[in-house]
Symmetry: C2
Subunit: 160 residues, 2 copies
């Protein structure tokens, strides 16, 4: 069970956009420049950012000096938002109700009225995972980075 590598990229993109936004609110950045800054494949990063935009996390600004920016303050974007955008809404554990098959196919429906205990336990564990990710915002992540790294990123992306 592996998360898409796009999750790491998307989280870093959001933190970077917050750093740049702090300096110059609302300024869009070309995705190609972000790809170059982190040595990521540009076309694939564009796709990940499109997904973030569809999810309302980033916003696309058209035009020659266009690009991408955060769609809302970093304090209101959580790591869960980013994971859900890139990974999709499905739960990691998919219950296919094998308990109702074969030897149990003729059992009364009431035996299976309650969710399968296995699915219930899996769902409970995923819920605490989701809650934990939802408790961490992009602002928290930006604050956990050494100040120098944020300053260097702003310098790298400074208008020439």
């Amino acid at each position: 069970m592996r998360m898409n590598e796009g999750v790491e990229w998307a989280a870093h993109v959001c933190v970077l956009l917050h750093w740049l936004d702090e300096e110059e609110p609302g300024r869009p950045v070309a995705v190609a420049r972000i790809a170059e800054a982190y040595e990521l494949p540009p076309a694939y990063l564009v796709k990940q950012v499109q997904v973030l935009t569809r999810a309302g996390i980033t916003a696309s600004v058209p035009g020659k000096h266009g690009g991408v920016r955060l769609a809302r303050p970093a304090a209101r974007i959580t790591l869960m938002d980013v994971v859900a955008a890139i990974e999709g809404p499905d739960e990691a554990f998919a219950c296919t109700e094998i308990r109702q098959r074969g030897m149990n196919a003729d059992r009364p429906a009431r035996d299976f009225a309650r969710p399968c205990g296995i699915a219930h336990a899996m769902r409970g564990a995923e819920l605490v995972w989701r809650r934990q990710l939802a408790a961490t915002s992009i602002l928290d992540l930006a604050a956990s980075t050494p100040r120098d790294v944020a300053v260097a990123a702003r310098r790298h992306f400074a208008r020439t």
Copy 2:
């Protein structure tokens, strides 16, 4: 990010083996019969059970009346054990340290001495997920199933 369907199968196999073990301790069951009971592809189920055996969750009993049984009491097998056996030990989030590339390639090592905040947050969330799965045993899962279903399973697997 999807869990292997083998996780659902393996968890049900463990619960079933516990039910049968309660009636006749240590009695092995042919995996082909378990596959038939849940309408699962036999060859693929054999592979999942081999993985459980390698992980020390089940034990293989050779011979004409051989098969598989739980290797230890159901109270000492957790859902985390089953998930780890089938999914492997890797974390779902793989940090590839993109923070150290491109524009940051020349930065001093001290800037990256602490784990990336994103990886740290991801690891924390996985930890609570793992803890929750480790808090649920196969015995708990067996206890959450309607009594009639356990009785019917024992009847289905009764020696003829």
